[in-house]
């Protein structure tokens, strides 16, 4: 976020104030988390010999070197604290590209699977949606004819298509991509069509006056004029596809960061689940940042 090339004066208050506040929030969150998940030391008073033996037999408590019973660190119950999750993060990041069998792939692989699945679905949908949106937006008759269908199809959760898609294409790999595809389709179509149908009429007049052919008219006037609306549509699609990819992986059992949360849940590894959630957040954040960089290239001041 910070541009290293420009020296920021220390007297610019907003910059470091915000940074400090961010750190404070982080510390408060971690502290609260630690407090909420920590257990008091094991207190054996009031427990009979028999009860203690049963607890030790169950593995809840162990005898330490001093001969006292303490809680068993190996057996966790409830939500793990930040230290355990931190340990899990270090452990996972220390070997990001390992592969043990079919389900235990390193986090680097999982991110790659999710990002490529997402990219294929999103790009495919964007191309189709812009194409359809241009056709719909250029012709008022088609626009009004197609609009009711769009309005009904748009609010359908992309996951609702999944059973039908899985039944149709059989392969879960392709189904996951198609769920992303369905999630990214409608906002882009709707925005592209709207953008094209509401172009400033003076630009169209100029293009008619300059006797542009349809090709030049489309690429030098119509698409650039509609570009802000198209990019806004892509942005909405991007967000909804990002939301859809995680449950799609879970439900279809396709390896990726979304499925990781489910694997870890099956392993009853709650620290792993929390790690997976954090990974989903960071991957989404990085992709969104990349996308907004790209979308800036398509914008202009009016």
């Amino acid at each position: 976020m910070m541009n290293r090339k420009t020296w920021r004066l220390p007297s610019d208050p907003k910059w470091w104030q915000a940074k400090i506040l961010s750190v404070v929030i982080l510390v408060v969150l971690l502290g609260g988390w630690q407090y909420a998940t920590s257990r008091a030391a094991f207190d054996p008073t009031g427990k009979t010999e028999e009860e203690l033996m049963l607890l030790e037999f169950n593995g809840d408590i162990v005898m330490n070197d001093a001969g006292d019973y303490v809680f068993n660190e190996e057996k966790t119950s409830g939500v793990p604290g930040p230290l355990m999750v931190g340990k899990k993060i270090v452990e996972e990041l220390s070997h990001p590209f390992h592969k043990n069998g079919t389900n235990d792939h390193g986090i680097g692989h999982l991110i790659f699977y999710t990002v490529s699945r997402f990219s294929v679905g999103f790009l495919l949908a964007s191309v189709v949606a812009i194409f359809v949106g241009v056709i719909v937006g250029l012709n008022p008759v088609i626009f009004h004819a197609v609009n009711p269908f769009l309005q009904v199809l748009k609010p359908i959760s992309p996951l609702a298509w999944m059973p039908l898609l899985l039944y149709t294409v059989q392969k879960p790999t392709i189904t996951a991509i198609l769920v992303v595809f369905m999630a990214s389709l409608w906002p882009t179509i709707a925005n592209t069509a709207f953008g094209l149908s509401s172009i400033d009429k003076d630009y169209l007049r100029v293009s008619r006056m300059l006797e542009f052919g349809w090709f030049r008219r489309l690429f030098t006037v119509i698409l650039p004029a509609a570009a802000p609306a198209i990019v806004a549509g892509l942005r909405i699609s991007f967000g909804s596809a990002l939301v859809a990819v995680v449950p799609a992986e879970m439900l279809l059992g396709e390896l990726g960061v979304g499925y990781l949360t489910w694997i870890e849940w099956n392993n009853l590894d709650i620290a792993g689940v929390l790690f997976a959630i954090l990974v989903v957040g960071f991957v989404g954040f990085l992709m969104d940042a990349l996308f907004s960089k790209l979308s800036k290239a398509a914008s202009y001041a009016t």
Binding site: D202, R205, R208, M209, R216, T220, A225
Partner: protein, 305 residues
């Protein structure tokens, strides 16, 4: 602003332009325009049986109150809109749609905001002279930007230019195409008064050299007298018509200072203002339709004086 004299550069222009700048005689033949009224019952007549002949190389202004239909008339001459009856002839040929022989300079400038000032002119030049290679197109574009005093701002985006600068780009685009006729739709209405004067001077200088026929719509009496050979006075709509055409026989070149001293100028100004004041009152029986017409998107959208 200091400007070089444009004449020698224009004479060195390639021969392909000769066809374009041929006879630019412009005729409006008994043109009428009706819009469906907003209430749905019947039609509103914007203007009826308007005839106007503009000789090749002549500068004619159409002046009238807001909503009188003068911009509608200009849009019809430009080919953006069709007359309900009558016809428009350019060089004897009937106008069927917009084209490169009639370049419009828009009140809103209508520059593409995603293109630099240079590209806005270049895209027009490329379209007007399809046989030229990219180097010729670039040279021609640069020449016309320079003629409008825009040599430094070619790379800038329209959003970063003042209104005056944007309209200079608009004029450069229009002149660079070397049209038979130039149609100016209140071109200076959105430009501050001080800048307006210098752009008007530049327009006259360009027009002197290019020799295009000009038809300008305005509601600024001083501007019309300064620039025009003749001024057509339009009555208020609905059913507007051109009531009279005033000859401006003040010798050129005209300067603002000289005009203020001139008795001809005062006489003409008074006459035109008298006409506008006399026609300011709308017939009451037609008030409703007049309002309906103003609300209609094709009618004049301009703010009152």
């Amino acid at each position: 602003m200091q400007l070089e004299m444009p004449t020698p550069e224009l004479q060195s222009a390639p021969p392909a332009e000769a066809d374009q700048s041929s006879d630019g005689q412009l005729s409006v033949r008994e043109a009428s325009k009706f819009f469906p009224s907003l209430t749905g019952d019947g039609e509103v007549c914007v203007f009826r049986d308007v005839s106007l002949d503009i000789a090749n190389g002549e500068f004619v202004s159409i002046i009238g109150h807001s909503g009188c239909g003068k911009s509608t008339l200009l849009n019809i001459i430009a080919g953006f809109d069709q007359p309900t009856s009558g016809e428009i002839l350019v060089d004897g040929k009937k106008v069927l749609g917009p084209g490169l022989d009639r370049m419009v300079v828009f009140q809103s400038f209508a520059l593409m905001p995603w293109m630099s000032a240079f590209d806005n002119v270049r895209v027009a030049v490329r379209s007007a002279f399809p046989s030229w290679d990219s180097k010729q197109v670039a040279q021609h574009t640069t020449r016309y930007l320079n003629l409008m005093g825009l040599s430094d701002i070619g790379k800038k985006m329209p959003a970063h230019l003042s209104g005056g600068m944007r309209q200079r780009v608009g004029l450069a685009r229009a002149f660079a195409v070397q049209p038979k006729a130039l149609l100016l739709d209140e071109p200076f209405a959105q430009i501050d008064a001080l800048t307006r004067g210098s752009i008007q001077d530049e327009l006259v200088r360009m027009w002197d050299v290019a020799g295009a026929t000009v038809c300008m719509v305005t509601h600024d009496v001083d501007e019309a007298i300064l620039l025009s050979d003749r001024i057509a006075l339009m009555t208020n709509g609905p059913e507007a018509r051109i009531a009279e055409i005033v000859d401006i026989n003040i010798p050129r070149p005209r300067t603002r200072e000289q005009l203020i001293e001139s008795e001809d100028y005062m006489r003409l100004r008074t006459r035109i203002l008298r006409f506008l004041i006399d026609h300011n009152r709308r017939p009451t029986a037609l008030d409703d339709t007049a309002h309906a017409m103003q609300a209609y998107p094709h009618s004049d959208e301009n703010q009152p004086d």
